[in-house]
Symmetry: none
Subunit: 195 residues, 4 copies
Amino acid sequence: MDDKKRMITLSAIDVFQQKGIEKATVSDIVKGAGIAQGTFYLYFPSKLSVMPAIAEVMIEKTIKTFHQKMNVNSPFIEQLEKLVEIVFDYTNTYRDIYALIYVGMGTNRQLHEWERIYDPYYNLVGDILEKAQENNEIRQQLQPKHTAALLIGLIESAAEQTYFYDMQDDRIAQQKKIEVLDFAEHALLVRNELR
Amino acid sequence: MDDKKRMITLSAIDVFQQKGIEKATVSDIVKGAGIAQGTFYLYFPSKLSVMPAIAEVMIEKTIKTFHQKMNVNSPFIEQLEKLVEIVFDYTNTYRDIYALIYVGMGTNRQLHEWERIYDPYYNLVGDILEKAQENNEIRQQLQPKHTAALLIGLIESAAEQTYFYDMQDDRIAQQKKIEVLDFAEHALLVRNELR
Amino acid sequence: MDDKKRMITLSAIDVFQQKGIEKATVSDIVKGAGIAQGTFYLYFPSKLSVMPAIAEVMIEKTIKTFHQKMNVNSPFIEQLEKLVEIVFDYTNTYRDIYALIYVGMGTNRQLHEWERIYDPYYNLVGDILEKAQENNEIRQQLQPKHTAALLIGLIESAAEQTYFYDMQDDRIAQQKKIEVLDFAEHALLVRNELR
Amino acid sequence: MDDKKRMITLSAIDVFQQKGIEKATVSDIVKGAGIAQGTFYLYFPSKLSVMPAIAEVMIEKTIKTFHQKMNVNSPFIEQLEKLVEIVFDYTNTYRDIYALIYVGMGTNRQLHEWERIYDPYYNLVGDILEKAQENNEIRQQLQPKHTAALLIGLIESAAEQTYFYDMQDDRIAQQKKIEVLDFAEHALLVRNELR
DNA sequence: AATGAATGAGTATTCATTCAT
DNA sequence: TATGAATGAATACTCATTCAT
């Protein structure tokens, strides 16, 4: 991505997190990026059109985190646990941003781009599932990439629900993680020899 | 709910659906409700504070649909199918509204109210799961209400993913429904006679 | 004055002092008076029409203070000192109210009423001057009532100027009082024995 | 002063005079200044914050008038007469504006700025008094600048009192001028040869 | 490419006033 | 007389976008 475009996008993420969805302005964004008001429009045709770029950066970050934290050679069950950890983590941190992207792209009729943007993420998790299939750790009938989408959706929604409760209470989050892990394991029939 | 408050809420739902999230104005809402501009503020302190009321109405609608379409005496597997149908249906119809509620309540620091509002919904599905447990149709270890939340989250996110794609293509939706159903059945160990 | 009309007026004074000129509303006033919104309009045709009533009450208060603090038999010079004290005191306390009355009556084309309202005040001070003339304490050529108006204006404006400075600093106020007293004494030729 | 800021200020004075205190709108002001609505807010943070700028322009005008009409070499008594003329004149013409400035700055907690703004005015009159002292035309004990403030306050309040009455009646104004002049002369001990 | 002053359409919110009870 | 829910006109202020430099 063009360097200045990236600066704008990163600043936008910052601003949205600090000011919240309603109060963020282009003026704030350009200030954060250290450029002039007009320069913004050299890189993005409108305010909402930053959204896909933001989404891309977010996914990029997520994938980077994956590669850092995930040991692809560890048993699938451990990778699944890690997945839950990671998804809960970024959902909590970036909840507002995700809502924003969702609304912003929806308004802009760009929602279909979401598919393209999430694609590498689904592929990443899909690959893990595929390898788990080869190792006979999960059911053979599962279509890896489709299942990846369901799995990510499940965990993300569980993470979001955690924040309907008091965010401070970490025990609720831990409990939720255990439950979603159990749910997912059965869905995928992980370690079915254990039952 | 107070009659006039309800009128405002219903009109707000309409306006948000028609005009989209960004373009809806209080002026439109009061016009739809047949009241004066100022009257709005007798019932709601601000534009965004209608959100919880909208959420309540939406959940109310959903629950009503449930009672209409769901045969509580049919086998659990059929009820699950119905659940998927219903969730996909309202997600498709009210996708924008849900996004709006989410953002609106988040912005307003009212997200915790979501818990209270979703509660009857989780209870409804929780009851179904509990009965299924009694009939030995699903795993006994599952905590019904918690599982209900996960299940609803799973199906909703699957539905959302579907409608990020071309909404017209019904085959994709059908395919997604089958996948999520399969995923959920295994998670709950519904067809345990097969194993 | 009608009891309820008085209640409204007193509440209005309170509200204006607490909320300031811009923020005071009829709603606040009726709340303070313990009556309903509509009742206000049974006693006053409009919001601004309370102003003369407020002015009247203010003058009434001032005159009452005079009768309490002023010894009409003491030498004129002492009465003048007292006058300065009193005027500084009420100017400081009710500066906002006076500004409000001024603007409110000006807007309403009721400014001529000011004459009628201030009249008893001018008479009061005029009487003091007249008696001082009889006692040969001030110049004989002075027209008592006209001079009263000038004198009051002089002291009020001096008091107002005090508040252009830091209001906390009492020494400035004391200094100003001494200066205005000296100014007035010479204007009236009070200490004629000095010449 | 920045050219555009000055345009806005001048237009604001116009609008306040024509429309009166309550009815003046920012929209009117910008129309008069020939600029866009938003431009106003590049120069002033709010509607009321124009007040100090208005006050500055008013004082500027007054001082200019002084330099035109006042012969600094004429006897003090004539300069005092001129001072009364000028103060009565601008008080009559700009009565509304002064009330507005007073209220506006009071509301805005900017009243202390008044000191800075009036300062050159007090200095101007203070200089006249100082010179009169050198010429032994007034009492030596007087502190020139402080006395200037009292004197201006006296004359302004006298002028204001005049214009609360029927403004058309010029005889009342003339009478008041004579009285205030007499009052001031004695206060300053002008014409001390007469005593 | 970059700037940032200027634009002006757009809207939530307020509050004096009314009127059916 | 008294009420207070309902009214709706009126307006300050915001901010995405433009364009001359």
